[in-house]
Amino acid sequence: MFPSYTENPSNVCFEGQDPDETILLLLRAHPITNLSWIIPAVIIFFIPFLTPPILNNLGFGGILNLPATYISAALVINYLLVLVITFEGFLYWYFNVYIVTSKNIVDIDFHSILFKNIDLAPLKNVEDTSSNMGGILKAIFNYGHVIVQTAGASENIDFANVPNPHKVSDFILDRVHIAGGH
């Protein structure tokens, strides 16, 4: 439903896309990277079940004698926290994308709330690409970084934690050759 590697995606466009520009490759971080927010969300989800015995053991069982409305409010806050961690985690994963179009390479980043960064490099300015995969999870799930070196003063574009990094690197270079770049 939410793929992290899509060639020629349909029904997708981005801000600043030219009418004659087509998206050839749409990338997101590998889904396994979502564990960094899924695990805390699951732990916080189970906190209300674990808290009463812990409080009783520590001698603070009196807290549980609060009126039921207060306990309910605390539960609501706990599950709102789970909700916001889940929602924010999904948003960052879903909207932080790397796009290869027929003209450009686009890196759309949302680092924090209300902070947006879009790196854009024309394919003809791409000089070199490199990919690397290091670590147990990356080796098992086949994801890693692709670094796109561009000519001029512009910064290199880093595709972080994308699936099939070697394939992506090769895909970009093939497109650069077709576009008549270096």
């Binding site: 009196g62 807290i63 409305t69 409010a73 609501v76 709102l80 909700l83 916001v84 709330i113």
Partner: protein, 77 residues
């Protein structure tokens, strides 16, 4: 010690303090939820996909719930 704890958490002063703390947390949460709604709006305009309107609707409903909880908790506690 247990009896002391029991008395402490039944005292009106402690309950008032707890009510204030809960309302403060919910107030900040509501601000955060409204910021998320704005952020989703920004994201949806940057990357337009079939999922974008759904996510946008969820963020608005979430913001509404966050504000609603403040009123609900204020009334209940």
């Amino acid at each position: 010690m247990q009896a002391g704890n029991l008395d402490l958490f039944q005292s009106p002063f402690i309950l008032e303090v707890l009510k204030f703390v809960i309302l403060l947390i919910l107030f900040f949460y509501a601000i955060f939820a409204l910021l998320i709604a704005r952020q989703v709006d920004l994201m949806s305009k940057t990357l337009i996909t079939p999922v974008s309107p759904v996510v946008k609707a969820i963020s608005i409903i979430h913001g509404g719930f966050a504000v609603g909880f403040i009123i609900l908790v204020f009334g209940l506690l």
